[in-house]
């Protein structure tokens, strides 16, 4: 499809990989065939089978997965893209791996149920042993830096515990002599994910100092508490993971103590729906490809607003029929102007001519 320098090889090359030689070179068909022997077998994709379901708390669930041979392995603390087919739709989200690398190749992913979150609801309510998921490449720098670290501090809030747990489990195995201070904040004891395992660790691991902050009784970890913590920890390597407010507060405290270089943070984004307006408010729209941002009036189509901002998206019917103006919405909440349906799905295809912004948006435009 893409033009190449020499027309002959370009033509032959695209011919050989082209769908018009199907069934001879039909990778999809081979995939389909291979998948009939074993649903995790694949020529092109990393897939994994659920081999155990562990209920952690009332609204948090861990799936233990056995990936196929295409799995490249990960480093404790990394995240990855997970794809599940739910009611015929492929849904993709980024989740953290809560387990360290293991000899048997299994990984664990722990997910908190979020109302309206397609994949997180499936994870907690419908996932069963035997289900097959697609996996992306593990990625992320929230990992132990090279070298030996005698003293490490970890700080997490809510489901931000997951990458921290992967690192903790790794340290437990690989560096049992290290001293680790772990401060975790959750609403109540019942909401502490991995509580039994953490308490067990605290009993058996001499260098492990576990401090749980139950916000419903002890209050939040406020600026003063974080500041004291920053003083205690000093220049020890510190990991912090949680909602953005929590990270900002911790960064502030560490900066004040002059130790921000020793702080590694991983931010768990909040769903944009929290910021979604009622439909009348103007919203910022970032057009990724064009590299510009514009303001879209609520209730007016993104096509009209993009054109008013000087962009020239492809379009056809301007009434939702022909799909010429289809565009990937990377993030944000939109409304379908035909039926008022509001959607906050990330990475969703939208028709610009019949869609309006309900929150700040990022579009692949």
């Amino acid at each position: 499809m893409t033009p190449t320098a020499t027309p002959v090889s370009g033509f032959l090359g695209s011919l050989l990989s082209s769908p018009w030689l199907h069934p001879l070179n039909d990778v999809e068909a081979l995939e389909d065939l291979v998948g009939r022997f074993d649903t995790t077998w694949s020529l092109t994709r990393t897939k994994a089978r659920v081999i155990a379901v562990i209920r952690e708390t009332a609204d948090v669930c861990t799936l233990v997965l056995r990936p196929n041979r295409r799995w490249p392995g990960h480093v404790a603390g990394q995240h990855l893209l997970v794809e599940v087919e739910i009611d015929g739709r492929r849904v993709c989200r980024t989740f953290t791996i809560s387990s360290p690398p293991r000899a048997d190749g299994t990984i664990e992913i722990t997910v908190k149920r979020r109302t309206g979150g397609k994949l997180s609801v499936w994870w907690n309510e419908r996932a069963a042993v035997g289900d097959v998921l697609g996996l992306g490449e593990p990625a992320g720098d929230f990992v132990l830096p090279a070298g030996k670290h005698e003293r490490i501090a970890m700080l997490s809030a809510g489901s931000g515990i997951t990458p921290v747990m992967a690192i903790l489990r790794h340290l437990r195995e690989e560096a049992p002599d290290a001293s680790v201070l772990f401060v975790h904040s959750a609403r109540s004891r019942e909401d502490v994910i991995f509580r039994d395992e953490l308490e067990e660790m605290a009993r058996r691991w001499r260098g492990f100092d576990l401090r749980l902050q139950m916000t419903s009784t002890d209050g939040r970890l406020d600026a003063a508490a974080l500041s004291r913590l920053a003083q205690t920890v000093g220049s020890d390597l510190t990991f912090v993971c949680g909602p953005s407010g929590f990270i900002e507060a911790a960064s502030g405290a560490w900066r004040e103590a002059g130790n921000e270089d020793w702080l590694l943070s991983e931010h768990f984004g909040l769903p944009s729906s929290i910021a979604a307006g009622d439909g009348s408010a103007p919203q910022y729209v970032r057009a990724n490809r064009a590299g510009v941002a514009f303001v879209a009036a609520g209730g007016r189509s993104l096509l009209v607003e993009a054109e008013a901002a000087g962009l020239k998206p492809a379009y056809g019917c301007r009434m939702g029929i022909c799909h010429t103006c289809k565009c990937r919405k990377v993030s944000g909440t939109v409304e379908d102007l035909r039926n008022g349906r509001v959607s906050e799905e990330p990475n969703e295809m939208i028709q610009l001519c019949v869609t309006a912004a309900r929150s700040a948006l990022t579009l692949e435009l």
Partner: protein, 371 residues
């Protein structure tokens, strides 16, 4: 022709729009695993038929295996073009997020380039359905299918041009977006024409290479047989798609419109035009799949981006709306619909009588594309 919608008030037309929108919302809310199983199942059947057909043509030696091979390969091509290609390109399965069924990247087994198809079919034909001068699918610029089109001398031979068009239908579809008629008249955008020509040339070269060089050479002992089998399969697919599409828009009772009539159209008006410009064919469930569900052309034109397998289930609701508002709902057996298409093609080959011409001519504006 009397206007079958003139008895409707503005409020009634708006109400029809709302009732049809509700059908659309109901289906959208219900999309799920059955729809994905259906389309993937059809993909498997089409693949299997293609493998069976090509194998029989390459390795068989008897006339019977030739016939079976052609039948299997034509079935594969028809399924791929209609129930899969046409419908996937309409974005009917984009909600699945499956890259193999994505409207923007799918390419189909026909000489027509998918992006050109999306432009003239999804946009031009589905937005301006049956509008003279705007929807170039009305008779494809060579056949007079309605009394509202001007008669020209070339129409005298249209019973023959129709046969040729149906035999070579994929080529007609392939060059349609370039609008060669307009280009020949010196009225087209030359730059645009060149770009589309280049796209078409590449796609056509690949298709020709595949069916008439590559696959025959894969079985040198049977090369002429494979060549002929592929030619026959492409031909059968051409005739079938042409016949089904003509049944959808040109039997008696479907309306054509002028640009003036559609100025200031509301969603309700647009729905009305879609219903009046289309016709259904009755048949069993496999017949519907083999037509890509274009046997439910009315439902398809109302909801071009809903998965086509849903059309039979919503057809009774659409029909009930037509009955409630005393609107025609054009449906009939295959032979009735196609018989009426053929009868029209023969009848309209001749110029209208003077009286009719005087009544029709002033109201009609025919665009350059139709010339």
């Amino acid at each position: 022709m009397t206007n079958p919608t003139s008895h409707l008030s503005r409020e009634q037309i708006d109400e029809i729009g709302r009732e049809l929108d509700e059908i659309r919302s109901d289906v959208l809310a219900d999309l799920g695993e059955n729809d994905s199983l259906h389309i993937r199942g059809v993909v498997r059947v089409a693949r299997g038929a293609a493998i069976a057909g090509r194998t029989l043509l390459m390795f068989g030696f008897t006339p019977a295996s030739f016939g079976l091979g052609v039948a299997a390969l034509s079935t594969a091509k028809i399924l791929e073009n209609m129930e899969i290609g046409h419908n996937v390109l309409h974005a009917q399965y984009d909600w699945m997020n499956d890259p193999a069924l994505d409207s923007q990247t799918y390419e189909w087994d026909i000489v027509c380039d998918a992006s050109q198809w999306r432009h003239y079919h999804n946009y031009e034909h589905h937005t301006f359905t049956n509008v003279l001068g705007k929807d170039r699918d009305v008779g494809y610029g060579i056949i007079r299918v309605s009394e509202d089109q001007y008669w020209r001398p070339k129409h005298v031979i249209q019973p023959i041009s129709n046969v040729l068009l149906s035999l070579l239908f994929q080529w007609g579809v392939g060059i349609h977006d370039m609008d060669p008629v307009r280009q020949l008249a010196g009225e087209g955008d030359t730059e645009e024409f060149r770009r589309k020509w280049e796209q078409f040339r590449r796609k056509a070269a690949k298709q020709l290479f595949k069916d008439y060089v590559f696959f025959p050479l894969l079985a040198p002992w049977n090369a002429p047989r494979v060549f002929l089998g592929n030619l026959a399969a492409n031909g059968i697919r051409n005739v079938w798609t042409n016949v089904i599409i003509f049944c959808g828009h040109f039997p008696d009772g479907t309306r054509v419109y002028t640009e003036k009539e559609i100025a200031g159209e509301t969603r309700g008006d647009w729905y009305l035009r879609q219903m009046q410009g289309s016709a259904n064919i009755e048949g069993g469930s496999w017949f519907h799949v083999m037509t890509g569900h274009l046997s439910h052309q009315i439902e398809h034109h109302l909801f071009p981006d809903l998965p086509a397998r849903r059309y039979p289930e919503i057809a009774p609701r659409v029909r009930a709306i037509c009955e409630k508002y005393r609107l025609p709902y054009n449906t009939g057996s295959f032979w009735r619909q196609y018989g009426s298409v053929l009868a029209n093609i023969v009848r309209l080959a001749l110029p209208p009588r003077a009286a009719t011409a005087a009544r029709v001519a002033p109201a009609v504006h025919e665009g350059a594309g139709m010339a």
